[in-house]
């Protein structure tokens, strides 16, 4: 297993490198001169040169990239153009928020998706199956932020079961944390749960027709054991591959859903960075997100290996 992890990590290095080149060069293409934005209209030519020098904008782009990369590998992503807050600090402060959302919504998506998919696969064409299939089709068509608005209207504004907005850190109060992430996570996780349900259903229907399921039944194993141990373990193999993609989607979706619930996560930071054209912040955000995606891919690879012995390096 260690070998697998190392192998995968090594394979991901070039990816991170390319992403860093892409983000750096693209964000350097931003149309407005950041120096103008910083010094404002009252700035003098002198100030302009000073700021330009301070930001290192006088150096050629490849040198700037190398310097930036050199610091980035040490965990220093520079600091925002507009205040002295370090990019790493700002991102890390928001990261738990977005991670909470992503993780909780992934959990919801997996639980609902797998449950619905299995239920549908066990009785194809039954009302459960129809309900799940129609639900999944709808689920994939509902914009997550709209669903969030509706959830707020019902469960926060009218029923007052959950806070309508805001986020409580897990470290502050686990219960309040749960209450603050539950609605956004449902809003976010629904479409993924639909995608997962479809995948689980089709995988499960396939697996249930496999010889080894019949063989297990012939051995007199209980239905529950056959479904949850023998069938599900195999049906989840293709699902895990989808899951990695879905978590990336969730991470992206979190950026928008955060706005609905006025949660200060990476999304709020990203939108502010775009509006202010805060290049270092944008670069840092993209890189950290890719880092997250890479970790998720690694985790799913490992789970994939656990579920599917054939995928393990021998």
């Amino acid at each position: 297993m260690l070998k697998l992890i190392v192998q995968r990590l090594l394979a991901l290095l070039p990816l991170l490198f390319i992403v860093s080149v892409l983000t750096f060069s693209f964000t350097s293409l931003l149309p407005s001169d950041p120096v103008d934005l910083i010094i404002g209209d009252t700035g003098t030519e002198e100030q302009y040169e000073i700021v330009r020098e301070r930001l290192g904008l006088n150096e050629p782009i490849h040198l700037r990239y190398l310097q930036w990369l050199g610091r980035a590998v040490q965990g220093d992503l520079g600091s925002s153009f507009f205040n002295s807050v370090s990019v790493m600090g700002a991102v890390m402060q928001r990261l738990p928020v977005t991670l909470s959302l992503t993780a909780m919504s992934a959990l919801i998506a997996i639980v609902i998706g797998v449950a619905a998919g299995v239920a549908a696969a066990l009785r194809p064409r039954s009302w459960v199956d129809r309900f799940a299939t129609i639900g999944a089709t709808f689920g994939q068509a509902v914009p997550n932020f709209w669903f969030g608005l509706i959830l707020v209207a019902i469960f926060a504004v009218n029923l007052r079961w959950f806070p309508a907005t805001g986020f409580t850190p897990l470290t502050e109060s686990p219960w309040e944390w749960l209450r603050s992430v539950i609605l956004p996570s449902i809003a976010l996780g629904t479409s993924s749960s639909a995608a997962i349900a479809r995948q689980v259903r089709s995988a499960m229907v396939g697996v249930l027709q496999q010889d080894y399921i019949r063989a297990a039944r012939a051995q007199g194993l209980s239905t529950r054991r056959i479904i949850f141990r023998h069938a599900l373990t195999n049906a989840l193999v293709p699902v895990v591959a989808v899951l990695s993609f879905q978590i990336t989607v969730l991470l992206g979706g979190a950026l928008i859903v955060e706005q609905v619930f006025a949660i200060n996560g990476l999304g709020t930071l990203a939108i502010a960075a775009v509006r202010q054209q805060d290049i270092p912040l944008l670069q840092g955000l993209v890189l950290v997100m890719v880092g997250l995606v890479v970790l998720v891919q690694l985790a799913t690879d490992i789970i994939y290996g656990l579920l599917n012995p054939k995928a393990r390096p021998s």
């Binding site: 009252t42 002295s84 806070p163 907005t165 006025a262 709020t268």
Partner: protein, 506 residues
């Protein structure tokens, strides 16, 4: 022309006493949580251009402050003397900054000089320089007569920074002042909450009533409302918007209408037509002014929390001109006539910067302008940067609020002079405007200045490059407990609470 004003320390003592229903030697305890609607840009008062003063007040004290009646009273100063272009300020002794550095005339002068040099604070635009004359007395030299200089020293212009802070490039998040509280960077969360704890070296310890003060950064109006409802915050500021209207009608919440008003207006920056030629045509500007249905705007967009506005000042102010009421009242036909008369009868298009809290105002304005053939594109800018972007030539027009507590001389500093802050296209003012602006500075007496500024307002209405729309009071939403708390004193004309003497609600 010479004026000599002496101000006694007595009035300062009276003022301090007002905010103090409190026993003298109680240990600071409890937390007070305030929510600010604008995002924190910088904690350097001298680089701070827009709103967001609540972030600064816990740490920084100004030389003077506004008493509840609106008069300037000493805080870090003990008094002042104005002699022509020289303003002599006497300082309180025995005060040190929270980092241990001493506060004296040299530091105060350095602060003023830094503010002048940074040239962001408009209240210091009239200042030439400052110089210490002894340990606790310094002199501000003015470039021109400034009847409002002491008023300016009540706000960011008078806030005193520690020498170390002035030299610190990261001052924007590491403020050091003399105030009752110090900023705790460790406990603060960027973009979410700024935390302040008692200043152990504060010069007036009895005025520290809290063990912790928090300013929450909640730009989303609904989120702030929810935070107030759920008790996550004790008070917060609002503009006239649906959420404020909800507070006003929700039992258990109180919408405080603080002194002073926020006068929403459209500024035609490019009035020489550099980018948008139509703006050079006064007929176009008048057409725009007449196209706005202020009654509907006030009802629908400001939820009945405002009054129609045609000039900078509201009724009751010495600078208010009653003749201007309805001067460019809503009249679509008249507006269309002006458009027809103009060189741009087929209309034109321009961009207008927007922040989320102004979104619906601008959509409404866009609707009005559309009626007369003008297309206004709404361009979102990051909240907290509207003022800054408005000072650039990025936009041919902008929209801001004018705080009616501000001295009328700032009208000139902001909009009229060629180098005015919000005159990015460097338009030369008309002779008449310029002379009125200068005349207003020649006296400190409101009886003398009043008629001058009333005339100035009439001239502004005529030139119509400042189109006033609606004036709403400074609104502070408070919980029931906050409302019942006798130590809560709202700063005159400001969207913040006086922290000196403030105690927790329980």
């Amino acid at each position: 022309m010479k004026a000599l004003i002496r101000n006694s320390i007595v009035s300062a003592v009276v003022c301090v006493g007002l905010g103090l229903g409190a026993t003298a030697n109680a240990e600071p305890s409890g937390t007070f949580k305030y929510a600010e609607q604008v995002k924190l840009i910088t904690m350097d008062p001298q680089q701070q251009s827009g709103s967001g003063v609540p972030y600064l007040r816990p740490v920084y004290e100004s030389l003077f402050e506004k008493a509840p009646d609106g008069k300037a009273v000493p805080l870090l100063a003990t008094g002042y003397e104005i002699d022509g272009l020289n303003v002599k300020i006497m300082l309180r002794q025995g005060i040190s900054f929270s980092n241990g550095e001493a506060f004296n005339a040299e530091v105060a002068a350095a602060n003023i000089n830094r503010g002048v040099q940074l040239a962001i604070i408009e209240g210091l635009k009239t200042v030439e320089s400052a110089e210490a004359i002894d340990d606790y007395t310094f002199v501000i030299k003015l470039k021109e007569p400034d009847p409002a200089i002491i008023d300016s020293l009540c706000y960011t212009g008078g806030m005193m920074l520690a020498p170390a802070a002035m030299a610190d490039p990261t001052i924007d998040r590491n403020p050091i002042g003399t105030g009752p509280y110090v900023h705790s960077k460790d406990q603060s969360r960027e973009g979410e909450v700024q935390v302040y704890t008692p200043n152990p070296t504060y010069w007036d310890k009895e005025m520290i009533g809290l063990s912790r003060y928090e300013v929450w950064e909640i730009p989303d109006d609904t989120a702030r409302l929810n935070a107030l409802k759920t008790g996550q915050i004790d008070a917060g500021n609002w503009l006239a918007n649906p959420q404020a209207a909800i507070i006003d009608r929700t039992a258990g919440l109180k919408l405080v209408r603080n002194t002073g008003g926020l006068n929403y207006h459209v500024i035609i920056s490019d009035r020489e037509g550099t980018v948008v030629p139509a703006f050079a045509d006064r007929n176009v500007r008048l057409a725009m002014a007449h196209s706005i249905d202020r009654a509907a705007f006030g009802k629908a967009v400001l939820f009945g929390l405002s009054e129609d506005s045609y000039q900078p000042y509201a009724k009751g102010s010495w600078a208010y001109n009653p003749d201007l009421e309805g001067v460019y009242a809503y009249d679509v036909d008249k507006a269309k006539e002006y458009m027809a008369k103009s060189a741009f009868p087929d209309g034109f298009t321009f961009d207008m910067p927007s922040i989320p809290i102004y979104q619906s105002r601008l959509e409404a304005l866009a609707g009005f302008f559309k009626e007369i053939g003008i297309t206004m594109n709404i361009a979102p800018v990051e909240p907290g940067t509207l003022a800054r972007r408005s000072r650039t030539t990025d936009f041919p027009a902008t929209n801001l609020v004018w705080n009616t507590n501000t001295d009328p001389k700032f009208l000139s500093l902001r909009y009229i002079y060629e180098d005015a802050a919000y005159n990015p296209f460097k338009t030369k003012p008309s002779e008449e405007l310029l002379s009125l602006a200068e005349a207003g500075l020649q006296s400190v007496e409101t009886d003398v200045r009043g008629p001058i500024y009333q005339k100035l307002a009439a001239k502004l209405a005529e030139e119509a490059f400042l189109i006033f729309v609606a004036n709403s009071p400074i609104l502070i939403g408070a919980s029931e407990k906050t409302d019942a708390n006798p130590t809560v004193v709202y700063r005159y004309g400001e969207d913040s609470i006086n922290l000196r003497g403030l105690k927790a609600n329980d």
